[in-house]
Symmetry: C2
Subunit: 245 residues, 2 copies
DNA sequence: TATAAGTCATAACGTAACGGAAGAGTCAAC
DNA sequence: GTTGACTCTTCCGTTACGTTATGACTTATA
């Protein structure tokens, strides 16, 4: 399918699809010799996913992180969408209630507190946003190590790539012993990398590793690269920092 | 109430309230000697209205036009909000249906057309957006005469002011005869003004006047400045163009 | 009553997700 | 063989705030 067909089908603009291509969110693999974008069935499925996330208020950057993640699970995602859409409907219902009340109030039939007047607007009041966060990981793998905050977005993105690279490499060798030469070499890379961002003492480094196992949000995100990676990293990081004191 | 109280109550940021003040959407009348903004009860009611419109996807500029319009009717507005929220809920329901179907599809239980895959996303498919437009006037008075498109936003805004000015003046004299000297002088201003934007022949000018009466969207918007203004303008414009052929 | 914590103000720059127009190539149809 | 409908890339514009930065004001507490 060509771009306008897709746009009409999905109810988005051609410009939007171009934009999604630009930012690498949805880039149709194929191009005709003319240079025209050709969207396959799989691209349509992906677009559907994207639109679900968008409807639920996720920023495109986050959407990209989520669905490009190798461990992204479509079925799980759909079930989460389902939950979040129900929440959203509840919010709308709450707003409808507020409108009804306000109409009555205007007629002088009831009184209304200021709080009631804003019921349904306040996102923080209901679990909607929080739930979304919980379902998809507080801040995603990319910035889960904080500190990154103080850098330019440019720098962050560049680091993000390397970040994922290191995780992938570690995942590959996660069944080796944490104190093996291979593992320790990779962990050193990890330590050096972290110190390009922040300032990690060996102790902090060790503590961070422990957190990978203790904090389930970290565990979940890290294990996306491979089951058991968090534990493996904790052990390798502990060994590394003990050895270099 | 001071700004943070309001922000917390309504679930918006302080910056948002500052922004609304900046653009003149919601400017608390009172200030303490310290310069602090003080929001009254009426301001809260207005904020509620604003948030309803925002929830329904109206841009702030349009919201400002609507609620600052002297003819703005709160009760009517609330009833429209109610309708539009119901629509929105239907859209969510449709999306929920789409998720359910997609899950079944993934399980291999059903087949799914590409159209079904995007049901609920496409705003143009359901009457939601169109209804919103109908309820609040196609493009509002400001740009209902098209042509303005080819100008910088700056210029448009400047013209917008004058635009409203002319309408107001015309409304003041709308009970005089359309061929009176007064009326014809004002209509000439109107003609000159239009030709600063586009290129209106006298015939086009006459036709435009007729449209003010024939197209109920125009009628509605124009008559906001005063009941019967559209008819008055049509007659005055017809007379004017006949006289200057 | 001093002083720190919290809140307020303005100002100015940054960002996200496109919109819209320009200029040029492509494709199907008549 | 020329329209008319699409397509491409490029680039500037816009909306609705977010995010500091800097300085003044208020309030709770030592």
């Amino acid at each position: 399918m060509k771009v306008k067909e897709v746009a009409d089908l999905a109810g988005v603009s051609v410009r939007t699809l171009h934009h999604y291509d630009e930012i690498g969110l949805l880039s149709p693999k194929e191009r005709e010799e003319s240079g025209y974008r050709v969207y396959t069935h799989t691209d349509l499925e992906k677009l559907q996913q994207i639109l679900f996330f968008k409807e639920l208020g996720f920023p495109l950057k986050k959407i990209k992180e989520i669905i490009n993640d190798s461990s992204f699970n479509q079925k799980e995602a759909l079930e989460n969408h389902y939950k979040l859409l129900l929440d959203k409907r509840r919010r709308i219902d709450s707003l409808i209630g507020t409108v009804e009340k306000t109409i009555q109030y205007k007629k002088g039939e009831i009184v209304m507190t200021d709080e009631e007047r804003f019921a349904g607007f306040d996102f923080s009041e209901n679990p909607y946003e929080q739930e979304a966060r919980d379902l998809w990981g507080e801040k995603t793998v990319n910035d889960s190590n904080a500190k990154i905050g103080g850098m330019s977005k440019q720098q962050q993105q560049e680091l993000g790539e390397e970040f994922n690279e290191i995780y992938r490499k570690l995942a590959e060798i996660r069944h080796e012993a944490p104190d093996s030469e291979d593992a320790q070499k990779r962990i050193e890379e990890w330590y050096d990398y972290l110190n390009k961002i922040g300032d990690y003492s060996l102790d902090a480094f060790k503590g961070l590793g422990q957190m990978y196992v203790d904090d389930e949000r970290f565990t979940k995100n890290i294990d996306k690269f491979g089951e058991g990676l968090a534990v493996f990293m904790r052990d390798a990081m502990a060994y590394y920092s003990d050895m270099h004191q």
